[in-house]
Symmetry: C2
Subunit: 547 residues, 2 copies
């Protein structure tokens, strides 16, 4: 088998872009596999009869997309990416693309003896949904060419420009100062040493007080510090679940939760949500089913991801009752309850955990979207018998959370300015949500779209006209400089949901950006529905749907 | 079946201690199981005819040992602990202690309907070795009664009193200040946002330069930031290995590595070490064996844990050659290479990774023992194809490492004072090691003991007289106020090694403490060897050996 490249100097597409695209094609077809070494720039340039600059630019482009990696003197390799995942998914069951045989020719040597390829070829880890989204974003930015004019509504991010960095600076300095004072007292030295896996007691004690705002009152020994809800959920899944079993999850669901369960081969049984959150009638039906059914439900009751809806107070009460009746454990994922918009006549409901009298609710709290994403801090609140098991896992897998980081967070949260800052964020995010909702009303009128009305958080979910293809909308929008997060990333593998959708993030966008973005969305949809510019996309549908 | 307690007022042992011990006995026998609720203090006191203070003190004691947990108003539960693990291990295969039937009587109600017990009963997670050591320590301290006079040679800890906390205070303040300056520049804002899973680029760039001291020169994109080598190794095991396969590991081995592999059902095939580190002749024999053999070796080449020996330069070279010949991946765990003692004629050998031309060595670096244990920071250096897979795992399981923590570490490491501080630590640890070695020569002469000569790190391994029982030495030493870490914690489950041993930590002890500790050890051994006080131990040997 030979890999041939046909570079066409007569087209508008630059040679290095053609080469990069063709290398990607060879990866998707399984002709180039993960861990294989690419030929040196000079050699490939000579083989193809192009300049070394062309090959070097192609390699740079592929490296910027995370498709290849390596550096001078040690070779360049095909990395694991959505492309290699796609190639694995396309291989026949149990199949090995290496096993096809055939002679090796062309510019690339198939290095069967290459240790990394043989070592990694058998591994089953999938590219995560988070990784796919990142990669789609990178690819679209690359194709659009100008990050400044791209409108990215796919991020799911808070707006870090609202974060009071000056106060964080003081929080770090003050935390360091207090820590040093404590350590200088002989009795305080032990805080630096290995100690309780639960993590810093000063922060845990403060959090007990902090959580009263959500209607529950844990003790410090019921709290385990983590790096966030992703780590928290991963720990829960590793310690309390077994590969092969299944869990109940919302439909649509938090992308990272799907990632965690799928990587651990835990099946997700989706339960649809409506404007009041999880459909308890459907949950109860599933619980009554005679078949083996999940023992655990994972739910994001406030600011549900990706829709932004909030589980009503009545449903919270009833969900906890159902858990008790059916011996269900509940994981409550709270990443931004503080950002409930609190409009007139609409108060934030208490945490699910506040209704729980039996210790069935495992409450996961993350501060990463509330403070800033690269903080990496959160905690788990759980009843003693459950927490003891999670602590055993934490002790074996990663030990406790960082002390200096815990102290900086403690300083930051306990300052009186924190509440005012939250208030500003709430107002700003609500304002942006309103702008987006108005734009959707104006621009998408008559296009057979529906969307959720977020009561908290950063995003909403938009259902597209039912007969459109999700990937096609995403690709055509990208061609117009608009990035959307495909609804498919938020659906479990077993989902029966057919209606195409996209997640729209408003939190990190100005009103002007939102306006421009929705205009581009509207024109994309109109083009697809009414036919103008229909054939414009250059993307391969396969590439997207099979990943 | 009834649980009866016989509290004897005529003995010297206080009533509450008797009650606590008997509750523990009932847990080990499987009569009280994890998640079961204990009766309220008042009721049990009435049933037993003792004061509420007695029951409350017993509960407090058990809670302090982590055996029970809970708090006022919500009941007290049996927690997962080495005791419940022991009960699980003792249950017949597939057996459920609940299934024995029989009438429920006595002070405790067996609550079969208790949800936590039914939920947790089927889970297989073992108590970690780290957890066992912590628990043994806590129990011995409890029995000895006076922490101030206990000599704890079991910790494995660095001496945090040597840490320059004032400089750390400045590092945190300076890191906060520089971060705020960066964020105030519009282009710097993105460091707060979700970004590369590799972690902060500023620290990764600095580490490239830092690692030249160990003879290798990575690029920033070959580094993934972690919370330490435990998390790093866990990630490697989850992403590159599959439950059911096996790895080569040193004998004896790093306790946390054994924990990680065992929790993931990865079998450990031990390769003995000698004074120059891993026995490559035995490794090669194992590699030549026709049977299915491990594809990965995990090694601590400098300051091997628990012996303190260092793999010689010649063996490092040859080990990398063997890896290439037999297609083996190597995990190099470096937690304190900087603390190699560098005596006359004895220079620190370069990192294993520095001999590696094929990218077969995955280098794990932890800063937690070098800075302080509750820091929680480290990194993985690996070749691009391997690192890409690890990044996928990190992205799905926990996202990246903390930015503010990365920046504080960067400030701390890059200050010129850091090298002087390392130098002081090296000298101090070497001095303590010398004190310990001299004491062993003096005090254990003629007792048929052997020990390793550490060239780096915090510990040595002492082999006890071959016909003594390890648990007996540990228990008798604890009765004399001396805490030792059982060698068994550092042996893989499949180990054939018979000779009893203990790990002795010298790094966090003063010469006076070392002197007193070794005197107690000597008298313990002499009593066991020559018969005085032979029957003194009150511990159940079962309790220790079966955990």
């Amino acid at each position: 088998m030979s890999i041939t490249f046909s570079l066409d100097k007569s087209t508008r597409t630059l040679l290095y872009q053609q080469l990069a695209e063709q290398i990607k094609g060879a990866i998707v077809r399984g002709e180039l596999t993960e861990g294989m070494q690419l030929p040196p720039v000079r050699r490939l340039a000579a083989d193809l009869g192009v300049s070394t600059t062309t090959v070097a630019q192609a390699y740079d482009l592929l490296a910027s997309e995370g498709v290849i990696g390596g550096h001078v003197g040690r070779g360049t390799y095909i990395l694991s990416s959505p492309l290699t995942a796609l190639a694995r998914a396309r291989a026949p069951f149990g199949g090995d693309p290496h096993a096809q045989g055939g002679s090796v020719a062309g510019a690339f040597q198939r290095q069967r003896q290459d240790w990394a390829a043989s070592w990694l070829g058998g591994l089953a880890l999938q590219t995560s949904r988070a990784g796919q989204l990142q990669w789609l974003t990178q690819r679209a930015l690359e194709r659009w060419g100008d990050p400044a004019t791209m409108i990215n509504l796919s991020s799911g991010y808070p707006d870090v420009s609202l974060f009071p960095i000056e106060r964080w600076e003081r929080s770090m300095a003050r935390a360091g100062q207090l820590l040093a004072e404590e350590v200088r007292r002989a009795s305080g030295l032990q805080v630096l040493q290995y100690g309780s896996t639960l993590g810093d007691e000063a922060l845990r004690s403060y959090l007990c007080q902090y959580f009263t705002r959500f209607g529950f009152h844990p003790e410090p020994q019921e709290i385990l510090l983590t790096s966030g809800n992703q780590q928290g959920l991963d720990l829960v899944a590793r310690v309390l679940l077994t590969p092969g079993e299944s869990v109940f999850i919302e439909e649509p669901a938090y992308l990272a939760a799907l990632d965690i369960f799928e990587q651990q081969r835990i099946a997700c049984q989706p339960i649809p949500i409506d404007e009041e959150g999880l459909r308890l009638d459907l949950l109860e039906q599933a619980l009554e089913a005679p078949a083996v059914r999940p023992r655990l439900l994972c739910v994001v009751p406030t600011a549900h991801s990706p829709t932004g809806v909030t589980l009503s107070r009545e449903r919270r009460q009833r969900l906890v009752e159902l858990a008790s009746r059916y011996n269900l454990l509940i994981v409550e994922d709270d990443y931004c309850s503080e950002l409930f918009y609190s409009e007139a006549g609409c108060e934030p409901p208490p945490a699910l955990r506040s209704f729980d009298r039996e210790g069935r609710v495992i409450y996961l709290k993350s501060f990463n979207k509330l403070i800033f994403p690269t903080l990496r801090f959160g905690c788990i609140v759980a009843a003693p018998p459950i927490l003891a098991r999670l602590v055993e896992g934490q002790q074996a897998f990663a030990r406790g959370a960082s002390l200096p980081l815990a102290r900086a967070l403690l300083e930051h949260l306990s300052d009186s300015a924190f509440e005012e800052e939250l208030c500003c964020c709430r107002q700003e995010y609500r304002r942006r949500r309103d702008v987006l909702l108005n734009l959707l009303e104006e621009e998408l009128a008559g296009l057979d779209c529906r969307w959720t009305i977020p009561t908290a958080g950063f995003n909403l979910l938009l259902w597209l006209p039912p007969h459109l293809q999700e990937y096609e909308v995403i690709e055509k929008a990208a061609d117009r400089g608009l990035l959307l997060a495909p609804g498919q990333l938020f659906r479990a593998e077993s989902s029966q949901q057919q209606c195409p959708s996209v997640r729209l993030t408003f939190a990190d966008k100005s009103p002007e950006q939102l306006r421009e973005g929705i205009k581009r969305l509207s024109s994309t949809l109109r083009a697809l529905l009414y036919g103008s510019n229909a054939g414009q996309s250059q993307a391969s549908p396969d590439l997207f749907t099979a990943v």
